[in-house]
Amino acid sequence: MDPVFLSRLQFAAATMFHFLFVPLTLGLSVLVAYMEVRYARTGDETYLRMTKFWGKLFLLNFAVGVVTGITLEFQFGTNWSVYSAYVGDIFGSLLAIEASVAFFLESTLIGVWIFGWKKLSRMAHAVVMCLVAAASNLSALWILIANGWMQEPVGYVYRNGRAELNDFAAVVFNKFAILEFFHTVPASFLLSAFFVMGISAYHLLKKQHVEFFSRSFKIGLVVGLVSSIWVVVEGDQHAVHVTQVQPAKLAAMEALWDTQSRAPIALLALPDEKNERNAVEIGTIPGVLSFLGYHDVNAEVKGLKDFPRQDRPPVLLTFISFRIMVALGMLFPLLTIIGMFLKNRLVESPWYLKLMVAAIPLPYIATQAGWVLAEVGRQPWIVYGLMRTTDASSPLAGYQVMATLAAFIVVYGFLGAVGYYLIGRNAIKGPESVQTA
C-alpha cells in the first residue's frame, strides 16, 4: 500500500479526531470560567453547582483532547519528515512557541484547578480557570498561525534548499492566519454553546433542575447567538481572502469549471473531474459567486480549467464539505434567534427543546466539514504553491504506516467511544452527579 496515501489518511484521522474535542475545550473553558467568576463574586451556590457540573464534562473532554494532541506534535516528524526538514525553520518555531507559551500554562493550571479547591481562595480558583481558558485559546492562535502559513506562505526566503524565515512579524500577522483564528475560535464557542444548550434542553424537557438548566441555557444562548452570527460574517471575509490567494480552492469549493464574470453558484452539483464539468447542477444563481468572492457581481472568477490538472484539489470533497459547513452555518444563527424569543418560556416550548437536543452534533459536523474544506481544498499543496504533499512524506514502508493507521483508528475509536459515553452518562445524570460540599 502506498505509504503517502496511508500517511495522509493517518494525519487526517488523527487531526479530525483531535478536533472533535478541541472546540469544546476552547469554548467550554470560557463558559465554566464565567460561571465560576459569577460564583466567586456573588456566592450564589447555583453557580458553584454549574461550575462543577459543566466542569466535570469539560475535564472528560479535555483529557481526550490533550492526549490526541500529543501525537500531532510528532506526526510532522514521523510521517512528513521531508516537509519538516523543508519548512521547519518557520513551522517548527510556531509549534515550539505554542508549547512554551500556551500548553504549559493550560496543562499546569488545569491540575491546580482540579486539586486546588481547598488550597486557593474562591476568586483565585476562578482566575485559574480563566487562565486555562485563555491559554487554550492562545494555543489555538499559534497552531492557526502555523496552518495559516501552510495556506499562504509569507515571510520566508528559499535558501539552503529549504524555506528559511525572513520576517517573523509577517508570519505572525499573516492575514490568512488571523482570518482562520477569528473563524475557528468563534466556531468553537458556537459548538460549546450548542453543547450546553442541548444538554440543558434535555433536562428542561424532563423539567429537572429547571432553574439550573435555564440559567445554563441562557448563557449558552447568548454565546451561541453572537458566535454563530460572527462565524457567518467573518466567514464571508475569509472566503474573499481565499478567492485572492487560493483561487484553485475557491473554484473547487464552488465546482466552477469555466472562468467567467458574473460567475454563478450552484446550490448542488455533482462534479465530473475527468470531463471537467458538472454532471449535475441544481439551483444555479448567476452572479452570486462573483459577489461572494469579490463583492462585485461583474468580477471575473477563475474556473478550474484555468489551472493545470495537477494543481487542482479534489473537487467533490471540497465542494461537499463547503456546502455542509455553510448550510449548517446558516442554521445556527436561526436556532439561536428563535431561542432569544423563547428564552423565558423554554419549558413551555418542548418542540424547540427537542430541536436543540438534536442540534448538539451539528456544530461538530460543521467544524469537521470546515477543516476538510481547508485542508483538502489546499491540495495538491502541503504548502500552497511551494511544496506538494506527495513530495513531503517520510521514507517509510507501507506496512509501517498501515500498522500505525490501524492503531490510530482502533485506539482513538475506543477512547472516543469511552469518552463520549462518560460525557453522555454524566450529562444525563445532571447536577446530582456532583457534590459541592
Binding site: V67, F74, S84, D89, V101, F104, S107
Partner: protein
Amino acid sequence: MLLQSIWFFLWGLLWAVFFITDGFDMGIGTLLPFLGKSEEDKRVMINSMGPLWDGNQVWLITAGGVTFAAFPLVYAVMFSSLYTALMLILFTLILRGVSFEFRSKVESPAARGFWDTCLFIGSVAPAILFGVAFANIFKGLPLDANHLFHGNLLTLLNPYGLAGGVLFLLFFLVHGALWLAIRSEGDLHDRAVKTANVLWPVLLVVAVVFLLYSAKATKLYQIYINHPVLFLVILATVAGLFGIKVFLGKQSYFKAWFSSALLIAGATFYGVIGLFPSLLPSSMNAEYSLTAFNASSSPLTLKIMLIVVLMFIPVVLVYQIWAYNLFKTKVSQEDLDLEEAY
C-alpha cells in the same frame, strides 16, 4: 556557531527537565500494581501525581517542539527513523493520559482495573523506550549519507539500547518512589521508602555497568578526556546518586528526591555533552552525523526562538514551582474526597 551551541545545550536541558518531572509520574505509574494494595492506596498513588502530571508531560511536547524549531533536520530524521518506537511511546502515553481521568469515573472494579492496567502500561513502556531511544542515540544510529535509517525497532533493541532502557526505568522507579514517600503517609509511605531503599543498590549496579558499557559502545567519553573539567558533570551525577542513599538514611525525603533529580539531570547531561556537537550520530560514518552545526535552523529563527524561551521558560518555571509547592503536601482524605480528584 555560538547560537547553535546554546541551542544544543537548551535542547539537552529540556529533555533533562522532562525526565526530572514526568520521570516520577512514570515511576509511580509503574509501581501502581506493586505498591497499590488497596483501592485507597491506588488512589493516593494516582493523586500524588494528579495535579502535576499534565504540566510535566508538556516538557516532552516542548522538547519535541524545540527539536523541530532549532534542529528541523534532526526532528525529521529522528522521528521518522525511530518511527515504530516513537509511535509506541505516543500510544502508551495516550493510554496513561486518559486513564487518570477515566478510572475514577467508572464504577465497576473490573473497569477500574482495566484503566489501572492502562496507566501502568502507559508508564512502564515510555520509561523503557525513552531509555532505549537515548542509548541508541548515544551509540549512533545506522544513518546513511541521505539520512536514511537502515534498521527497524529490533535494531534499537540491542544490548546497549536495552541497558539504557533498564537504567531509565530504574531512575524513574526510584524517583517515583521518593515522590510517593513525600506525598503519602502510613503503610504506603513505608513501602515507598522501602522500595527506594531496595532499588537503590540495583540502580547503583546498573548505572556503573552502563557507564562502563558506554566507554565500549559509544564515543561519549571523548569530549571528557579532551576537556577533563567536564568530569564534574559525572561527579555531580554520582553525588546525586549517593545523595539519595544518604538522605534516605536520614529520612529527609525532599532532599532525597532532589538528589534523584540531580542524578537524572546529570545523567542526561552526561550523555548530551558526550554527544556534542552531534544530535544524531551516524554509526555508519561520522560524516553522516547530524550535528548542531549542520542540522540547525537559520540564525534568525534561532535568535527569535532564543528570545522566546528566555522570556517564557522562566515564567513557566515560576508557575510550575508554585504548583509543586501547593501540592507537596501529604495526599489527604480531603484531597481524595474532592469531586474532581482521580
